[in-house]
Every structure is written in structure tokens, then in C-alpha cells.
């Protein structure tokens, strides 16, 4: 399914890039298979040969003939691998925070079979050379397939459009100035007009700089108590309303990044009802935490943009997830080094990591208490590529193997054994979570094995 007419599409390279590896040959015995997208919910054996799902059958019915690995998975769950449309891999230029290998390793550890990297690197990915070099690097380093967005405006300066068509030709999955809003409405309108020719979903960080000001957390009673400058939720909501109107008028496709506020959910709901082609993301931290968490002033865990908001906002986000207003869960994985976080809250960098804990945090905070069904979490973690024309992975015969094996009984303390990410600014650092990804197969290759689980199996 594509948003743009076929004749308007330049010949595109594969959207995702990964380093070469061995195709998996393995047998998973008696796992609980769940793929909400195709209504799969049963126990069964899965055999993978040459990286493809060759057979799915009754538990105990498949023989391990010719496979190199057998995983006894009774009591474990097998989900289609997740897909994150919003991560920061910090390459090029900020490899001290993260690089393509550590970032994709973190993704694999979280059960992801693919991620899309944002373009606000140093320098930003605004031209063909940068993008080609990055994709080349990903072909050497990326443990799970990565797609790259380019910036929408040159150097993220908010004025001149990048060479969108050329960037599409060399593999830009979409365009975004993420980290910054497109403050000038005319720039967005022209980009959406240009999109008719070259495609490429435009992902939008929605924030009105005049309303956000120098804010560092949600504006409300907590910011008042702490004496911190607030970012009102209207800062996000009014920009979504503006951009939905522009996209509706121009007819282009936009992805609304990281919704955080009740008013924003309502704005997306109305725009969808009006037929605007827009997709919306929400992060695990906005689904699980509120601005009350900021009271500890722990910037490493609780400072990000958009900020954590109120309980009413959190509940509205959950409502949007359940009724389909929100299309997918994206982590906005934003690694930062210790010295950028171990400073007073107002001076700390914005952003938290989330790839390694996305499933476990949502399972612990939303599924276990019965707030959100497991199937919804699995589906929304898997559907992040849709807005960019990348369909969710499927647990079906003949498909490339893209799945994660998860122990829903396992409890673990986040960060206890370190992180796969180069950075440790996880919003759940130190928390005890339930649900652990044991093995991830991405694009037919084994991308992750939890060490303790591997030893146990061996």
C-alpha cells in the first residue's frame, strides 16, 4: 500500500539496510504464538530455514532435522518482531552517545526487527553524500535493519527544502526535522506539494516555539511546585491542528511524532475523521509516566521533549491507542552521555533511551494491570513502519523470519547488567520490569540472544 501514485515514485533502493550475516536455521518448540495482525493466537512449533519461516505446526510435530539450533519454548511467547519508526542513533557526529552498532543492538535486545533513524545528527543528514555514507556504514554495522530519514529542511534551519527527490532516490525513507518543529507553515505546505512528486512521509515534531519558550517540563502544578519553566500542552496541540489542516489542504501524508497531550489525541482523532492522511506515534514513557515523576529532578530518567504530562493526558493517550487514533508506539530512543545528564535539570539534555525496555515497560505498566490487552501492545509495537510504506512483520509460513521470543514471567532490573546502548539514560533505569526478550530474529538472522537464556538452553 503506498500513498503516492506509482508514476510519481522514483526508483527506490531498499528502504532498510543491515550488515550481512548468516541466515537462521532453527526450530522453536511449543511457543505461544501471537500475531494480532493475522489473528494468530495458539501454541505451536516454528521452523526457520535459510532465514524463512518454513513451517508453523502443532506443538511437538516438527522435527529438528537439518537445523542448527532448537529452542525449547514451552511457556514462552513468540511475537512478530517490533518496528520503531523513531530512534536517534547519533551517527554521524555523536558516536559518544550511540552508534549504528550499539543502537541497533539495543533494538535487537528490545525485540525489534527494524528501526528508522532520525536525521538530527552532527551534521544533520541533509544531502546525498551524508545519506549514502550512512547507509554504507549501516551495511557494515547494523545488527537489525535500519532505515534513514533525511532532514526536511537543509541543515534543519527551517527555511530551504532539502533535495527531496534526490534523497528519495538514494534511500531516504521520509523527511523530518525531528528535534525541532517546522515553525514556518509555508515551508511545510511547499514540502507537502513537493511530496506529490517524490513521496516520502514527512514526520513532524509538533511544538510551537513561542509557547514552549524556555520550558523544561510540562506546565502545571508540578512545574509550579518545582520552580521549573513549563511547556504547556497547547504548544503541541496547536501545531498538530495547524499541520493537520495544511496536510488536509495539500493532500500529503504526515506522521505526527510522539503525542503527549490529551488535546493532541483529540486533534489527531478529528483530523482522521476529516480524512487527513496522518499517522500518530506515542512513546512508552508517555503511556506509563506523568509529570509527577519529575519531582525527583532526575534528568537522566525524566527529562525529554515533549515532556511527561498529567494523568489525564496519559489516560487520553491510552484511549487513543485503544481506539486506533494512535497508530503505533515509537520509543524516541534518545541516548545522551552521563555528563550531559548529570547536571541540574534545567541544563540537562532532553531525551531518554527506550529500545531495550519498550515491551517490558508496557507489559509491566499497562498489560499486567489489565489496562491494555497484550495483543494491542504487540500490534502497536509492530506497526511503526506503516506510515512509511513498511508493513508489519508477520508470523506466517513463507515470510522472512522476524520475531522475538519473550518470557512474560521473567522479572529483571533495568540496567543491572548494563545496557546494549552506549548510553544509560533509560527512563526505567533501576526499575524492576516483567517480561523479557530472550531472542530476536531480524530479517532472517539471529540478532539477539539474552546471555543467561542462551547458557540455559546450551
Amino acid at each position: 500500500m503506498t500513498a503516492w501514485p506509482e508514476e510519481a515514485r522514483p526508483s527506490e533502493p531498499e528502504p532498510l539496510v543491515q550488515r550481512a550475516g548468516d541466515a537462521a536455521d532453527l526450530l522453536i518448540q511449543d511457543a505461544h504464538l501471537i500475531d494480532p495482525g493475522i489473528g494468530l493466537d495458539r501454541r505451536g512449533d516454528v521452523i526457520v530455514r535459510g532465514g524463512l519461516i518454513e513451517e508453523i505446526a502443532e506443538p511437538g510435530s516438527l522435527e529438528p532435522e537439518g537445523v542448527t539450533e532448537v529452542i525449547e519454548a514451552a511457556g514462552l511467547h513468540l511475537f512478530p518482531a517490533f518496528f520503531d519508526p523513531h530512534v536517534h542513533l547519533r551517527t554521524p557526529g555523536q558516536e559518544y552517545k550511540e552508534d549504528l552498532e550499539t543502537g541497533t543492538r539495543a533494538a535487537a535486545a528490545g525485540g525489534y526487527g527494524g528501526v528508522l533513524a532520525m536525521a538530527n545528527t552532527a551534521p544533520p543528514v541533509s544531502d546525498r553524500g551524508e545519506l549514502e555514507a550512512l547507509r554504507h556504514r549501516a551495511g557494515l554495522d547494523a545488527v537489525v535493519p535500519v532505515g534513514f530519514l533525511a532532514t526536511l529542511t537543509r541543515g534543519m534551519e527551517g527555511r530551504d527544502l532539502v533535495d527531496m527527490s534526490e534523497l528519495r532516490e538514494v534511500g531516504a525513507v521520509g523527511f523530518t526535522d525531528d528535534g525541532l518543529p517546522i515553525a514556518d507553515a509555508g515551508v511545510l505546505a511547499r514540502a507537502l506539494q513537493y511530496q506529490r512528486m517524490c513521496g516520502g512521509t514527512i514526520a513532524l515534531h509538533e511544538e510551537d516555539p513561542a509557547l514552549s519558550g524556555a520550558g523544561v517540563m510540562n506546565e502545571g502544578t508540578v512545574s509550579t511546585r518545582l520552580g521549573l519553566r513549563g511547556i504547556p500542552s497547547t504548544s503541541e496541540t496547536v501545531m498538530i491542528m495547524r499541520d493537520a489542516a495544511i496536510a488536509g489542504y495539500e493532500g500529503g501524508r504526515i506522521q505526527i511524532q510522539h503525542l503527549s497531550a490529551a488535546g493532541s489525541v483529540e486533534a489527531v482523532r478529528r483530523a482522521k475523521a476529516d480524512g487527513v492522511d496522518l499517522h500518530a506515534e506515542v512513546t512508552p514513557h508517555h503511556l506509563c509516566l506523568t509529570d509527577e515523576a519529575v519531582i525527583d529532578l532526575d534528568a537522566s530518567r525524566h527529562k525529554m521533549n515533549p515532556p511527561l504530562r498529567t494523568e489525564a493526558d496519559r489516560l487520553a493517550l491510552i484511549g487513543g491507542l485503544l481506539d486506533g487514533t494512535i497508530d503505533c508506539i515509537a520509543t524516541d530512543h534518545a541516548p545522551h552521555a552521563l555528563h550531559e545528564k548529570e547536571v541540574p535539570f534545567e541544563q540537562a539534555a532532553m531525551g531518554v533511551t527506550g529500545l531495550e525496555t519498550a515491551f517490558a515497560s508496557l507489559f509491566t505498566h499497562l498489560v499486567v494491570p489489565g489496562t491494555v490487552p497484550l495483543e494491542v501492545v504487540v500490534e502497536k509495537l509492530g506497526s511503526g513502519g506503516r506510515a512509511f510504506g513498511i508493513e508489519p512483520f508477520r508470523l506466517a509460513i513463507g515470510e522472512t523470519a522476524n520475531f522475538c521470543l519473550v518470557d512474560l514471567e521473567a522479572s529483571w532490573v533495568v540496567g543491572e547488567d548494563g545496557f546494549e546502548s552506549r548510553s544509560s539514560n533509560s527512563w526505567c533505569s533501576g526499575d524492576e520490569l516483567t517480561g523479557r526478550v530472550l531472542t530476536t530474529v531480524a530479517n532472517g538472522q539471529v540478532a539477539w540472544r539474552l546471555r543467561s537464556f542462551t547458557l540455559e538452553v546450551a
Binding site: 511546585r225 521549573l228 513549563g230 541540574p344
Partner: protein, 315 residues
Amino acid sequence: MRDLISIADLSREDVEAVLDRADSFAEVSQREIKKVPALRGKTVVTLFYEASTRTSSSFELAAKRLSADVVSVKSGGSAIEKGESLKDTVETLSAYGPAAIVIRHPAAGAARMLGNWVDAAVINAGDGMSQHPSQALLDLYTLRSRIGPLNGVKIWIVGDILHSRVARSNIQAFGLMGAEVTVAGPPTLIPPGIEELGCRVVYSLDQLDEADVVYLLRMQNERMEGNFIPSTREYARLFQVGDQRLGPRQLVMHPGPVNRGVEIASSVIDSDRSLIAEQVAAGLVVRMAIFYELLAGGESDRMAPEPLPTIGDPA
């Protein structure tokens, strides 16, 4: 008390202990020799990341009156200007083994962070728009000295509540001691939910005559990054406190520095109802009391010097 970070951490008893101690130091301040040996041999570091006259000078003098060795570091002219991080600066200064670190910082929570890093007692001399607890304590001391207990006393805090750490500390401190607090100012300078700190909000001075104490805040031009008020002229017209707004028994306080002719009329500053000079004097004795309670309070009540070490004693 181990640190003094926020009024929210204090009980009424903690506050009264500091104010009682300050009373005893007020007597010392009348002596010809104003120094006591309570902190002899101890080191106090003051670390100021923001401009300050009265707070920095009174903390320094308070520590010296207690015979502490004082090291004063200001952001201008130090390695902070070269981009040294707060943590690195603090680790450097910690090498002197300070008994207390007094910190003023433009970011909220800086003092609390410091408290997690160092063994020294940390005294918050103002962090961003968050807290200024020593100011609140000296204001309580000033009021107690003039009018006695604060139970049921009506205190109006007028002006820029949004950007004011003094407002946050003082709303909590006045409330803790039983006063009824009202904040007044234009809505653009009153942050949402301030009522939760324990106060009523009004947008005019129409009922100012009910106030026993009028506590004025400075219009903080350095924290005004937007158009919070249309003009100082309009602000002064609505919220400036001059003699015509005040009845004979009403007292006026201000944490300083004042903008004469903006939030307060000059004639009020210089009148009998002004406690501003008393607040400054109280600053010294209350800060002596804070040091004493944090650093010496647990040891002994007498202010006699500890015995000198014997010469040759390796300790």
C-alpha cells in the same frame, strides 16, 4: 537537619530551633567582639553562580563570625568560566574537606544534586526559580521579632510570583508557621496551581487592607524572557504599593534589591512600616543560626572553644 535545601523539608520545630538560635546570636551581634568560636577549624565554601550582594555577604560574614575558614567562589573569574561542570567544581572544592557548602545556582535542584554528591552539609542560597530557604527563615525571624507568632496573621505576597524562588519558599514557610497567605499579581506572573503550596490567588490589590503584612517581590527583569506585563507603567499603576494603599498598622517587607518606583514607592521603603532594613540585619544572625544548627547543633550547646590540640599530636 543535615542540609538546608527546601522549606518543604522542614518541620515547625526545625524552624523554631533556627529562630531561637538566631535570637542568641542577635545578642552576640551587640557585643563589641562579635565573634564566637563555634566553627573554629571548620571550612565553609560559598559557591555563587549568580550575582548576589546581601546573600553572599551575609553567609560569608555569618561563617566568619562563627570562626570558620571561608572560601568564596564566584562563577565569574573562576574555572566555571572555562566551562567546568558543577560536579567537577564541587569535587575540586570537596578536596578542602568543607563542613558546609553554600550554593546559589540559576538552575532549580542544583543544591539537591550537590547534596547527593558531597558529605558536607549543603545550604541552598537560591536555586533557579525553586527555593531560597534562608531568605524565608530570615523573614520569619524578622516577623517573629516584630509581631510574635504568625498564627492567623494575614500575609500578602505581591508581584512576580512566577519567577520567584522567594515566593515559593515564603508561601511554604509562612503557611508552616500558621499564617494565611494570599498571592497577588497579574495572571501572567502567577504560575498554575500555586494554590497547592498553600495560598489564595487574587489579581488585584483591592482587598489589600486585610493584610497584616505586605511582602513585595522584585520585578525580575533578568528572568523576563517574554512580555509578561505590557509595561512597568501599567504594572506600577495596578500593583505598586505606595502610602495611599497602606493603612497605619500594615507592615511592608521586601527581599531586595528593590526597584524604587516600580513595585514599591520610595516613601514606603524609608517609612516606619518598612521592615526591609531589619530583614537585612536578620539575614546575618539567621545564617549564623543555620550554620550552627547544621554543623554544631548536635554536638554541644555551649559556644566554648574546643580544646586546642596538643603540640606534636599527630591528629
